[in-house]
Symmetry: C2
Subunit: 140 residues, 2 copies
């Protein structure tokens, strides 16, 4: 077996290649970074949730979530509200500007992915989805 074929290495190189392009694009186009993008997407799908919940959904660190939320509030894309049952927590929600931003960003993201995926056959796309699912089950 060749070390060039070492799977974790190949995967990380591939993933890095893909993220780099995306990060630059979002920064240029919308002035948001990858952390912000992820939090925004989660809040678009799950209005009125806490930082803890966002951390769970995104698989991101709680420190990073805390900072990202602070930035997004400062950039005026989110509103903060006290949590009704827990004074330690806050509920976050996209405001009008946030929703407007997402209605621009999401089609853009999907177009990027479609450009990439259109170069795979239907069969290859299915295989890819299957393999990602399988790895996630294996790795817990």
């Amino acid at each position: 077996m060749e070390l060039n074929d070492f799977l974790p290495y190949q995967l990380s190189v591939l993933s890095l290649k893909i993220s780099k392009g995306i990060a630059a694009h979002y920064q240029d186009q919308f002035g948001i970074n990858i952390s912000e993008w992820r939090v925004l997407v989660i809040l678009y799908k799950n209005p009125d949730i806490t930082a803890k919940k966002i951390a769970q959904l995104s698989e991101m660190d709680k420190v990073r979530i805390s900072r990202t939320l602070k930035t997004l509030v400062e950039k005026d894309y989110l509103t903060q509200q006290p949590h009704p049952l827990d004074a330690r927590a806050k509920n976050y929600e996209l405001n009008q500007r946030g929703k407007y931003l997402m209605r621009a960003v999401i089609p853009d993201a999907l177009r990027y992915e479609e450009d990439l995926m259109s170069q795979l056959s239907t069969e290859e796309r299915e295989q890819l989805q299957h393999l990602i699912g399988k790895f996630n089950r294996i790795l817990g």
Copy 2:
């Protein structure tokens, strides 16, 4: 739109999951981090190459390569030699300690991969290799 379906996101989560486990293991077991591991593998397969070449092969930043090479020389795993045709560049090579380290690290890495891959069928393994190759061709 589901964040969880967005391919670049899935790939980066997957790749991060795999790397984190490996990183901790290598740090504990051999005292090397992921950058060092990558550079070592490249030098194992490609003796006597320059920092630039390593950067190309690894898709890592030239600053990071420069620092990693410096560390590996300090840890006495590599030798540096002037490049015969270009006084700006240096050639790097594993020394005896470096080769010895790699002869310990590589079986360990392969065992890790084998544990992972053994959970895939032959067909799934072939699909995985095919897809990684295809993405690399698409992304250049």
